[in-house]
């Protein structure tokens, strides 16, 4: 699904990722944990094609294709979804417009006709229910005036509608209270499928109580310094990041 090999990336002259290697098989859930400044968000930005980063070395192969060669919208249409750490407010553009425009962009890319209006409404309303959201959210401007929890739920709603192959969750748990965290996690868990992989980027272990990863990686100073099962997250929680940074 996703094969990252020796990835080096910089912002300006400053190297952030320094030889990151990661292999995610279809259906797997990987968690990347790490201290602030380790390069977690840079990784999600580089994978989704955000401007401002230079890849100086290494490769990212997604479903056999060179992901780094693709424009951000092509990555999205090929099934890469980034749930933003800070979802952007877009005044004047309704949620339902964005969902439909995005879904149709994917369908066009696959050579499918535009979604039927009734089918689309049925689909979206099902997903809204799944995320325990009010249907009114569909008609509000994207993220405008949403609470932190609502924004994160809205990201997962988009993922649920767009059905990506690779879902990158960038600090999806940040700013969530326990109830919101539970709802968002249930949404994510309902998306788990044999052909869908997840890359969860998080600072804290608590998200992993709700979404069980197959593999946990520790990112420090731009590299994966340790990988293991879910128990690694617990060990980190107990011993702190200095424990692995010391081993790096």
């Amino acid at each position: 699904m996703l094969k990252i090999t020796n990835l080096h990336a910089s912002v300006g002259d400053k190297p952030i990722l320094k030889g990151l290697t990661l292999d995610i098989a279809p259906g797997e859930v990987h968690a990347i944990m790490g201290p602030n400044g380790a390069g977690k968000s840079t990784l999600s930005h580089v994978l989704s094609g955000k401007a401002g980063y230079t890849v100086t070395e290494g490769s990212v192969i997604y479903n056999g294709k060179d992901l780094l060669e693709m424009d951000p919208e092509i990555r999205a249409r090929e099934g890469v979804f980034l749930a933003f750490q800070y979802p952007v407010e877009i005044p004047g553009v309704s949620n339902i417009y964005l969902l439909k425009a995005a879904l149709n962009a994917m369908r066009k890319h696959k050579g499918l006709p535009e979604v039927d209006a009734m089918d689309f409404l049925t689909l979206v309303k099902d997903k809204v229910k799944l995320l325990q959201m009010d249907e009114k959210f569909l008609y509000r401007a994207v993220n405008e005036g949403f609470s932190g929890g609502e924004k994160k739920r809205n990201e997962i709603l988009q993922a649920a509608v767009l059905e990506p192959n690779l879902c990158i969750l960038d600090e999806t748990d940040s700013g969530l209270d326990i109830d919101a965290l539970r709802i968002v996690s249930e949404g994510v868990n309902s998306l788990r499928a044999a052909n869908r992989s997840f890359l969860m980027i998080t600072h804290y272990q608590r998200l992993l109580d709700y979404i069980k990863p197959d593999v946990v990686h520790v990112l420090a100073d731009g590299r994966i310094v340790k990988s293991g099962g879910p128990e690694l997250a617990l060990a980190l929680e107990e011993k702190g990041y200095s424990w692995v940074e010391g081993q790096a």
Binding site: D71, E73, V88, A101
Partner: protein, 429 residues
């Protein structure tokens, strides 16, 4: 060619203008002519015109043309459903193209030429009373040159059941369409006017002056859609006098023309409310100048002003928003906002909010922003599969649509929406 050409052609024109037998009108026109002869068209040296160059008006001599009655596709395209239609072609009211059959009850509609024949004394009471020739020389020019126009009067306590659409159409190249509208909304009456400017030829000059009298506790909503042809020169001034407890709401959509200047001025008496909304979209080498003035003359007035602009390529726009609070206008509550989106590094906005406050117990605020599309918003849309160009169009449309959303008339809103979407193709809103 210079302003002299206009002056030289005037005597022959004057003989054909309406109201020949009215001495007071002749005097009014002569005075305007003299003011124009003295000043010519406004120049960059005039403070209120320092960003708007009118030399094109002197380079071509735009001249009034004879009355035209031929229908045009534009009439159908810009016709707003469920409104009485008043059509002026090349500066003359054309009943044959108008739809007066279902004029709402309570309104008197006459061409200004007719009004000068049938009720000259009444016209004399209002003409030049909401704006003086000293305002600037385009007003003086209109005073001398107007060929026709409309008299609209809403009787006291009448709430019009449907809007009146005034459709200005120009069909002759280098035509001058100079009209004067007098709109009187008597006590406790309510009216809605949709003013539309279009042209089926490229180059012409619209010089339109509207004087509105909103009497005590009356309400007037005025929508202006300026969709002039691509090389047209447009001047449109709307000057309102608001009596106490009156409401005046103006929505100014400036989309067309090569050069356009709108004046929207209002004088507010006690506890009256004025709301000015505007949206200007300019591209290529378009120049759009909106000049608003709200005069709070008496206490307890409320004014709200919100103008938005989108400028692309080498377009230039001017926003001058002046709010004057007279010494006597205590407890005035005024807000002004101007927001601009620049899509190109060659586009230019000159924005000038001006508060002049002579009273000490008032609440006044103003704000201006000039910005570009936000990269993070573009990336967010791209990350959802929308290509960059479409994402730019979506965001620009959303910015502009906020003003269209404020339009309550559904037919007009649909017309405006269509205009917006033509400008930002590829987004299926």
């Amino acid at each position: 060619m210079s302003n002299d050409a206009y002056l030289a052609a005037y005597p022959a024109l004057a003989e054909r203008l309406p109201g020949q037998d009215l001495a007071w009108l002749q005097q009014f026109r002569q005075s305007g002519l003299q003011a124009f002869a003295d000043h010519g068209f406004p120049t960059l040296r005039d403070e209120e015109w320092r960003y708007t160059n009118l030399t094109a008006l002197s380079k071509t001599q735009f001249a009034p043309t004879a009355l035209q009655t031929a229908a045009d596709d534009l009439l159908a395209e810009y016709r707003v459903a469920d409104a009485a239609l008043l059509v002026l072609v090349n500066g003359h009211f054309v009943p044959a193209l108008s739809d007066l059959a279902d004029l709402p009850a309570g309104v008197t509609v006459l061409s200004l030429a007719q009004a000068l024949q049938q009720q000259a004394a009444k016209v004399a009471d209002y003409l030049g009373k909401a704006v003086a020739e000293t305002e600037h020389s385009l007003v003086a020019f209109n005073n001398a040159w107007f060929t026709d126009g409309l008299w609209l009067e809403v009787a006291a306590k009448q709430v019009l059941s449907k809007p009146l659409q005034i459709l200005h159409l120009v069909t002759e190249s280098t035509a001058l369409a100079a009209t004067r509208q007098l709109v009187v909304v008597n006590q406790q009456a309510e009216a809605e006017i949709i003013e539309t400017f279009v042209g089926s030829v490229d180059s012409y000059f619209t010089a339109c002056v509207n004087e509105c009298f909103v009497e005590q506790n009356a309400g007037l909503t005025w929508y202006k859609l300026q969709a002039e042809a691509s090389k047209a020169q447009h001047f449109g001034g709307t000057y309102a006098k608001q009596a106490r407890d009156s409401r005046f709401s103006h929505h100014n959509f400036a989309f067309g023309s090569l050069l356009a200047r709108s004046d929207i001025h209002s004088d507010l008496d006690i506890a009256s409310e004025c709301s000015l909304n505007g949206l200007y979209l300019a591209a290529q080498r378009q120049h759009i100048d909106n000049h608003t003035r709200i005069n709070h003359l008496k206490p307890h007035g409320v004014s709200r002003e919100f103008y938005k602009g989108v400028l692309d390529q080498k377009a230039r726009a001017v926003f001058q928003g002046r709010v004057v609070v007279a010494e006597d206008a205590q407890k005035t509550d005024s807000e002004m906002n101007n927001r601009n989106l620049l899509l190109s590094s060659d586009a230019e906005i000159d924005t000038k909010p001006q508060l002049e406050i002579y009273a000490d117990d008032v609440k006044c605020s103003h704000g201006v922003t000039v910005g570009q599309l936000e990269e993070k918003s573009l990336f967010y849309l791209q990350s959802r599969g929308i290509d960059e160009e479409a994402a730019r169009h979506v965001l620009t449309f959303a910015f502009a649509n906020e003003m269209v959303d404020k339009v309550e008339n559904a037919s007009l809103k649909a017309l405006l929406l269509k205009q917006l979407l033509e400008r930002f193709p590829g987004i299926a809103f």
